[in-house]
Amino acid sequence: MKLITHNMLTSNIIKGVKNGFPLKINAVKVENITVDYNRDFITRMLPRIEYNALRSAVSDIGINESLPEVLSESLQEDDEFLKKMHKVLLEIEIEEGELICPETGRKFPIRKGIPNMLLSESEVS
């Protein structure tokens, strides 16, 4: 699971959870995967990304990648910044670990890179 997926997942599917976002990450095994840089893709994705959630994901995993505190407009044209976003969104692969609902603490396992977001019926209704 890459952070571009983490950024789109919420646990408000659980009964009683309001936002369920961002999910906390407990990463047990993380790999770096080289992906070809595509500026156009990152530029198009940028408006879809919740920047603060991405920053907290990076800090949860504990990787040494400093993202600026605020996503200013000038940054969105800055190649160095876009390459950093590419790296953080696409090149970090969480192989094993779990996602944790920020409100209930419910854990969603990640195995072989695939998060399991399934809930039992009693958790939904």
């Binding site: 997942l9 976002f21 156009d40 696409l90 072989k112 695939i114 399991n116 977001m117």
Partner: protein
């Protein structure tokens, strides 16, 4: 005709756990090929496939229809074996676009964040009429078939989710049985402010299948 993705890595034993691509899957691939120009001109950034199964449909789309585009695929399946099979299929076929797989029901955990943000949705749903929908337990392969009453219980939820996810010009392609669903599907689409048209039809030995396309209804100001 584009070649079908290589599925030689999937064995007989895999097909006791996941849906084996059949005439419906191949009809879906043909429909995507018919729609090639429309899909390419949409230039989809975010694509969602509900119930990706073996991964054949998205792999085909990525390799042949959108090979020169930069797109991100979010693939989901309720069946963990389907998720790992899809992972193997895109690796086997050297897919270069981003494939992200999540083990979940339709796109439920994505609905909030991807609302109005998905350009293209694909679904080969469980459409066989059954007493109830299977979505848990040991026989998850049944989830690939069991469509519930009239075969449309899962389909109805998928259309509702598509109505939340699609961008203004987004498209949702889906397989259905012609027999009992055209009128019903049109009504469900209408309820969620979508329009539906039939893209392709094919009669097989046992059933008559259609591929349908949903899009957002234009509001009156645009008409």
């Amino acid at each position: 005709m584009f070649p079908t993705p290589d599925l030689s890595h999937l064995k007989r034993s895999d097909y006791s756990k996941i849906y084996e691509p059949d005439s419906d899957s191949f009809l879906f691939l043909d429909a995507l090929e018919c729609e090639l120009n429309i899909i390419r001109s949409l230039d989809p950034l975010i694509i969602v496939e509900f119930g990706c199964g073996s991964g054949i449909i998205s792999t085909f789309l990525s390799k042949h229809i959108l090979s020169s585009h930069c797109s991100l695929f979010y693939l989901t399946d309720i069946n963990p074996h389907a998720c790992s099979s899809t992972q193997k299929t895109y690796q086997q076929n050297n897919v270069i676009q981003q494939f992200q797989i999540t083990n979940c029901d339709l796109a439920t955990p994505f609905l909030q964040r991807l609302a109005n943000g998905v350009d293209l949705i694909l679904f080969n749903p469980p459409y066989v009429p059954t007493d109830e929908v299977v979505n848990s337990g040991d026989n998850l392969i049944d989830a690939a078939y069991s469509g519930g009453k009239q075969g449309i219980e899962v389909i109805q939820r998928a259309i509702e989710q598509a109505s939340i996810l699609l961008t203004e010009n987004g498209l949702f392609y889906m397989i259905a049985l012609e027999l009992n669903s055209v009128e019903t599907l049109t009504l469900i689409a209408k309820k969620f402010n979508l329009t539906m048209e039939i893209v392709l039809k094919r009669r097989t030995l046992i059933e008559s299948l259609i591929v349908v396309k949903f899009k957002r209804k234009l509001n009156s100001a645009q008409e």
